[in-house]
Amino acid sequence: MNIYRHGDVLIEAIERPNKLTEVFTGQQYTVAEGEATGHSHVLSTRTKSGIRVFQDTAGNRYLDITGQARIRHQEHKELTLEPGFYRVGQEREYDYFLQEVRRVVD
């Protein structure tokens, strides 16, 4: 299974789950944006509808990439992703002040 880590974003190849809603189709998709830096992780392919994005009821995102794709960021090295179905993961941490697990905010 292919797993890619791009900064605070994780892209993991998985079997496609059931009951997903398609939320985006296109050639370029912003996977994550940083609030404090203005930088973003941008996925792109050469084909017009090469990226399809799905969501489950919990808000988790999934990517269906039909051709080879690249993920870029202003400060991270570029990665090449093989075609496939992926789960988008986001780095998390434990907040000892709020005493809860939360997504890393950057």
Binding site: D8, T37, G38, Q74, L79
Partner: protein, 332 residues
């Protein structure tokens, strides 16, 4: 890469203008260059109004009609050279400066304003890069292409005279001077004042490319931020720069953290005895594989107590099983 003398001159002028961002504001020269620019487009130039910063520029432009004649003329000029190759000339620091202003402007202005702004820096970089590539390829002998290069040269003159953005509206040409930028290692950074300062006084504070509000920036730069306060920063990039300035090891020591485990992958697991926080706390110190920046991040206490290994705690951070993290080889 080898450049022709004309292409090299264009690139050098662009680079010199970028080095002088915010240091020059010659209003008469900007207006003269813009007048020539409009003349090249054969569009009458409306009256000019100088605006202090981009946020006000967006606000002002919201209720004004866009100059469609200008747009058409500019687009036509661009279409004549579309076939040639081009390169970008913006840096990461500039992207961030733009982003900071953009975020504020976006909250203040309606969608309509978005299409109205023309960034002189961006347009000029784009145009000059085009011009250089065209000159380099020897395509500037075509009169249509030569006209485009002449047009872009006017915008470069305006940039050299300090223009940051312009809004070509029907009855007014809004001109926004370039802000002063303090850049270190290609990132917005200043420990002795704002890293972005607009002519009207609007300013933004940055450390190593990360934006902070003035109060937090002051606390970090005057070394008044405690280790516990640094760990309480919700934004991990802000926490990272705070730790960078106070030294992560020193900070961890200041809260009584003890190293429990470390791995060959550069992950370090620390335990902080109860007292600093209401329970025993676990923190992971790790390095970003691309930037080399150090981060310190809390780990779920139950998980960490059961898996007191640095790599396993890193796996938890990404929702992976330890063996999956072991297989994770593509990191950037």
């Amino acid at each position: 890469m080898e450049f022709t003398p004309a292409a090299r001159r264009t690139i050098e002028r662009l680079a010199a203008a970028a080095r002088n961002y915010g240091k020059v504001w010659d209003e008469a020269a900007v207006i003269a260059a813009m007048r020539e620019y409009y003349a090249e487009l054969k569009v009458p130039m409306p009256k000019t109004v100088v605006i202090d910063d981009l946020v006000i520029g967006y606000k002002e432009s919201v209720d004004l009609a866009r100059d469609t004649a200008w747009d058409t003329a500019r687009d036509t000029a661009w279409d004549t050279t579309r076939a040639a190759a081009w390169g970008a000339a913006r840096g990461a620091a500039w992207d961030t400066a733009w982003g900071a202003a953009w975020d504020t402007a976006w909250g203040a202005a309606r969608d309509a304003a978005r299409g109205a702004a023309r960034g002189a820096a961006w347009d000029t970089a784009w145009g000059a890069a085009w011009a250089a590539a065209i000159q380099n390829a020897g395509l500037d002998k075509d009169p249509k292409v030569a006209k485009f290069i002449a047009l872009e040269a006017k915008l470069l003159q305006a940039l050299e005279a300090g223009l940051g953005w312009f809004f070509p509206m029907q009855d007014q040409l809004l001109l926004v001077p370039m802000p002063q930028l303090k850049v270190s290692d290609e990132r917005l950074h200043s420990e002795d004042g704002p890293a972005v300062l607009w002519r009207g006084g609007l300013s933004y504070h940055f450390l190593h490319g990360v934006r902070l509000d003035e109060k937090l920036w002051q606390k970090i730069t005057t070394k008044k931020l405690t280790g516990k306060e640094a760990l309480s920063l919700e934004n991990i990039e802000q926490r990272m720069v705070a730790l960078k300035l106070m030294d992560p090891e020193k900070m961890l020591k200041s809260i009584g953290a003890k190293l429990v485990n470390s791995s060959l992958r550069g992950n370090y697991l620390y335990q902080v005895p109860a007292g600093v926080f209401s329970i025993t706390a676990w923190f992971l110190k790790y390095q970003d594989p691309s930037t080399g920046r150090l981060y310190v991040s809390g780990i779920d206490p139950e998980y960490a107590a059961e898996h007191p290994l640095a790599d396993e705690c890193m796996a938890w951070k990404f929702g992976l099983e330890p063996e999956q993290y072991e297989q994770l080889r593509v990191e950037a």
